[in-house]
């Protein structure tokens, strides 16, 4: 993934890496991955600014499944890389390290809850959040636990009469609150959000709390960082800028609020920061561009009532994002928000676009991973899971849209939650793809981690 300035600094600290700039310039981007030392940083969306740009190119043609690594539950976590290993979490409660070349397990570490966050791997340490309410620090070589940090406890976003479910006076947990906050690591501090409504800053070496910042609701977005400020959205409908050293609020941006059914509110999308602008999707059916220094809104793109859960990718003055219900892959101008591309993905997108060379990878909840031409948005190829092809119970229509009449026959009691669970049985891609050395690694709700080339 793209290396932020901070990442480059750590790269150059490694003795081997002194030659890296020259070698990389000579050998090109794909070969450049071989230049990475073992301790390069990997985290959700690639780096601290969450740009979502890979340093490796994705193939423009699909050739084969290189290997498949099965786990015991769905994989919504996105893979990270460390020294030839793919490190990711599974909702079966384990953190896995898998040999990138062979797909064989190198190590596994158990937690006490689903691991629905993406591990950050920095300086030989893996930082990952589990539904057991703890941040884990693991030795990246063998998975050994270095320390655990306990929050006040995880929970999903919940509200009375959520999404119009009935009875209206009942409180429902949001079945689409699938991710946990993925840790961000900057200058020896681990930042992450929690279901206890806090943004935490924890010392990466000791696991000691540095500070915590309280928001008004669940924080399952992943924080982004630039120039001493941590940016994170909360399900209270606000996006916060917090001083990274002291944990004090710099500014807050208020997104939409839906007091009626709480459907059109909350930052589930994680922000990206580029060029002094914070970009974030929101469940209030907008993508926002905010001044990173002041929080002032520069522009917004309305998505016609459709959530923007996926996190935007930023490259070449463009913002790449995707929507849920309207199932659109969109590209807008970063400076103005002007629409440049719009393509139909057929089903909800929660996975975040990965830009890998001239290809953009988009995981779709209908169990397809789409590779699109970066310049035009045209579909280059699709990978479809076996579960999606089997389509048991007609979860998908013949053209791979969600068959909502069969999935959601009622708005009463747990019916909608059951429908949402059925949606995920087609091997939905919540996970955001990682591209390394031309190979795509991505998790699926069918429980597999796939290596595609």
């Amino acid at each position: 993934m793209r290396l932020h300035a901070h990442s480059l600094a750590s790269l150059f600290r490694h003795p081997f890496a002194r030659l890296a700039p020259h070698l990389c310039a000579l050998l090109g981007a794909t070969v450049a991955m071989f230049c990475l030392p073992a301790h390069a940083q990997f985290m959700f969306r690639g780096d601290a600014s969450h740009g979502g740009v890979s340093q490796s190119n994705a193939p423009r043609q699909f050739h084969r499944v290189k290997w498949t690594f099965p786990t015991g539950q769905r994989v919504v976590s996105s893979p990270s890389w460390y020294d030839g290993m793919i490190i990711f979490g599974s909702d079966d409660g384990n953190v896995y390290a898998v040999d990138a070349a062979t797909g064989r397990q190198r190590w596994m570490q158990r937690t006490e809850g689903p691991v629905s966050s993406t591990p950050a791997v920095v300086d030989g340490r893996v930082f990952v959040v589990s539904y057991d309410g703890r941040l884990y620090a693991l030795n990246a070589r063998n998975g050994e636990v270095l320390w655990k940090f306990a929050t006040e406890g995880e929970r999903r976003f919940e509200a009375r009469g959520l999404h119009g479910l009935q009875p209206r006076s009942q409180t429902y947990a949001d079945m689409y609150d699938v991710f946990l906050s993925s840790p961000l690591v900057v200058d020896g501090t681990v930042f992450f959000g929690s279901g206890d409504e806090n943004l935490y800053a924890v010392d990466a070496a000791s696991g000691n709390l540095k500070w915590k910042f309280h928001t008004g609701d669940v924080v399952h977005a992943s924080p982004a960082y630039a120039d001493g400020i941590v940016y994170v959205g909360s399900w209270d409908g606000r996006l916060y800028a917090v001083d990274a050293k002291r944990g004090q609020q710099r500014w807050v941006f208020q997104g939409g609020v839906d007091e009626l059914i709480h459907n059109q509110q909350g930052f589930q999308s994680s922000p990206a920061v580029a060029g002094g602008v914070v970009f974030s999707g929101c469940r209030d059916a907008h993508v926002y561009a905010l001044d990173a220094r002041t929080g002032e809104q520069k522009w917004n793109v309305a998505t016609g009532g459709s959530w923007v859960v996926s996190s935007p990718a930023i490259a070449d003055g463009r913002v790449y994002f995707a929507t849920s219900d309207s199932a659109l892959y969109q590209v807008v101008e970063a400076a103005t928000g002007k629409r440049l591309q719009e393509q139909q993905t057929k089903a909800y997108v929660f996975s975040s676009p990965t830009i890998a060379g001239d290809v953009v990878l988009v995981g779709v909840l209908n169990g397809t991973l789409q590779a699109r031409d970066k310049a035009s948005g045209a579909l280059l190829w699709e990978f479809q899971t076996d579960a999606s092809r089997a389509n048991r119970g007609w979860v998908l229509t013949a053209d791979r849209r969600f068959n909502n009449p069969l999935l959601f026959p009622s708005s009463w009691r747990e019916s909608a939650a059951l429908g949402a669970e059925r949606q995920m049985t087609v091997g939905s891609f919540f996970s955001t793809p990682l591209v390394m050395k031309g190979v795509i690694y991505v998790g699926s709700a069918d429980g597999n981690l796939y290596a595609l080339e």
């Binding site: 009626l260 119970g393 007609w394 229509t397 849209r401 069969l406 026959p409």
Partner: protein, 253 residues
Amino acid sequence: MTHRVNFRFRPMLALGSLLLVATVARSAPDPAGRWEGVAEIPGAPMRMIVDIARDPQHKWVGSVILPGLGVKGAPLNDLTVTDAALHFGLTSAFSTPLEPAPAVRLARRTDGTLAGELHEGGHAARLLLRRTGPSQVDIAPPSTAVSAALEGKWVGRYELGGHPRDVTLTLANHPPGAARGEIVVVGRRTTTLRVDHVVQGAEFITLQSNQAGFRIEGRWATADGTIQGQMVQGPFEATLVLHRAAGAEEKMP
């Protein structure tokens, strides 16, 4: 060209005719009745109970029950019965039907069953229905006419989630004595809804739009001539008082 039939063969001809009649009768079981079976959707078989009957005008009508999908007595649309086949749509059975609309196509088989396919979401699943008893078609009560006091245009406002919505209701009687109407709701966007069902009682009126599951109900026989009630949509209810629109006078009988 005519044929004379030899007398000796007449009994055989008669028998043959009888057999032919019997075969035709067997190949075309009376569609009227309750039919039950399972649509073989891979991984999630769907039980279906279909009732078919003739209405007083001898027109075929029917309804369907889909256990587990919350469907009881949804009317069959475009029900077509021929000597050999039976087709109907299931548009009303699903709250948000996809295109193409869900439908069932069945052959009337000689063994007295109905066999064919359920079409939904672009898929087709085998479906076999067997008669299990007499028909129990759920026939929705027809709309009533509305009194002259209610015909015309009404306006009101309700508030939901802190946002006001302006409502304009138009009601008119149409032959053969059933009211129809339209509801226009103006909030952040404008929504026009057809009134599918009207029931005016002695004091209470109910107006139902199937399109968005939107209902207006309330007392119409009020002292000040308003309709006092509420709008209902899924889990939401809000007070709604409808007044005669300015310039829209009550229609005199």
